[in-house]
Amino acid sequence: MTAAPIVKMVNIQKSFGAVQALRSVALTLDHGEVLGLVGDNAAGKSTLMKVLSGAYLPDAGDILINSKKVHITNPEDSRRLGIEMVYQDYALANNLDVSANVFLGREIVKWKLGPIGMMNKKSMEEQARSLLDRLRIEIDNVRLKVENLSGGQRQAVAIGRATAFDAKVIIMDEPTAALSVAAIGKVLDLIRELKSLGSSIIMISHRLEDVYEVSDRIIVLRHGRKVADCPVSGDIREFRERILSYMIGARDDFSEQGTA
């Protein structure tokens, strides 16, 4: 038996009016693991991750971080527990520079007067620089405005930002969806780099080849239920076929037991 999983979600339920978005979903994430989370549209992937990141309150179910039960009621709670979310649209302010975006909402200050802090720009720029170097993100100058970066660089900044503050769990929502082939390769490299640095990652994706490339394990959701939870194995074609058959409902590992 190795260490307890870093994240354990048990029996998570969430309804929106008459729609049951999540039906008793369970999820575990081990330390240093990359977990692929896939499913068709409206399968409940994003809802499940929004429960973990504090954007939604679940109707029922428990969340355990390192075996300790936690209550996540808003994004700040989640962030305090070391869970960071990388949004699909990058969630960057394009009119600000790289360093400002990395530290947005968590600026390093020299002094504070009530809610207003005097920023320490130099220190933020230095730390942003060393963060980019550590993750081998190729951006010449942290004073570049985000609007002047390529899509891949923006995604890299968004991911780098999530890791800047001791994140233990990083949730990525479709990190490769809007990128060119070359940029996808770089983002996947970045995910491997993060894993080697000890982060645990959950990656929501439609792109099964990307999930296959970097994930250790994969969970498939369908209509708000978990239908598969298995290691990533086999060759890419066989893997693709197998996962697709789960996604369209031809296979279901949990149909009789209900929840895992």
Partner: protein, 340 residues
Amino acid sequence: MDSSEATKNSAEQSSNTWTKKIANFLEFRELNVTIAFIVLCLFFYWKRPDTFLKPANLAVIMRFVATFGLLAIGELFVIITGGIDLSVGSMTALTGVIAATLMVKGVGSIPALSIPLSIIIVFILASLVGLWHGFSVTKLDIPPFIITLGTWLMARGLAAYITRGYPIVFVSDFPFLSLGQGAIFQIPIMFIILVVIALISSFMLISTTLGRHIYAIGGNIEAARVSGVHVNRVRIFSYITSSILACLVGIILASRLGQGTPTVGTAYELWAIAAAVIGGTSLFGGEGSVLGVILGAAIMGVMINGMVLINLSSYLQNVILGIVLVIAVTYDTLRRQRSR
């Protein structure tokens, strides 16, 4: 490391910082407006060398820049967050009228109040108006254009109602009048107030977390929200700032004119927005600087003053100001498109 190496390194470093400085200067956002301002000054000096640089004339320009610069700084705070404040001209009239009423007449059975107390009261009232704007925009999700348009009407109407349409006149030796009429070393006090406010607000926008959050909200409000920025609080702060600066201008103008007049400040909000835009503020939010809006106000002030000096028809003056505004916006839009 031996000393020769050290000197070499420091020489390299200093040449580096020099090239950096030159590069920074060329990228200096307000460069174009600065050049436009200088060219305008030279032009009018060339046309009217006898009058343009006379202290009395410079004081006229400085008072103009102070009035519209202060309003435009308030407008800037709101516009950067992606909002707009159409109430500032009417707020100028309402706060001026209330301040004059409190100082000269008092309210009902309450006798006239002291100058500082009257000023404090109008500032509090103006803050509440700003709070109301911010609350409506953030919590009730009402478009800022509409909510401030409502105040634009209400404040103007209230100012006329309070005074029954007549100005409230100060006695000629009322000490409060030195605020708008006085000067130190021939520099109008109101211009000195502008400089102080400009330094404070510039510092806030450039160096504090609050300023960065104001820009972030204008750039991507959702990104700011998920990053933990207190989006609503910051936006409310912006609207309060705008109302408070409108109030400051209202007090200054009441002092300058020697009376609280319900008709003062008509269309000033549009002049303030024009100054902000000429100074490089983007109405889409996320861009603009205090230095820019003051240069924008200065360009307008010098033009209006200069066109009078060269005896240009006052009808044509507005045409030319309109052309300048359109050129400024078009240029800025094209520059932005090219950089993308």
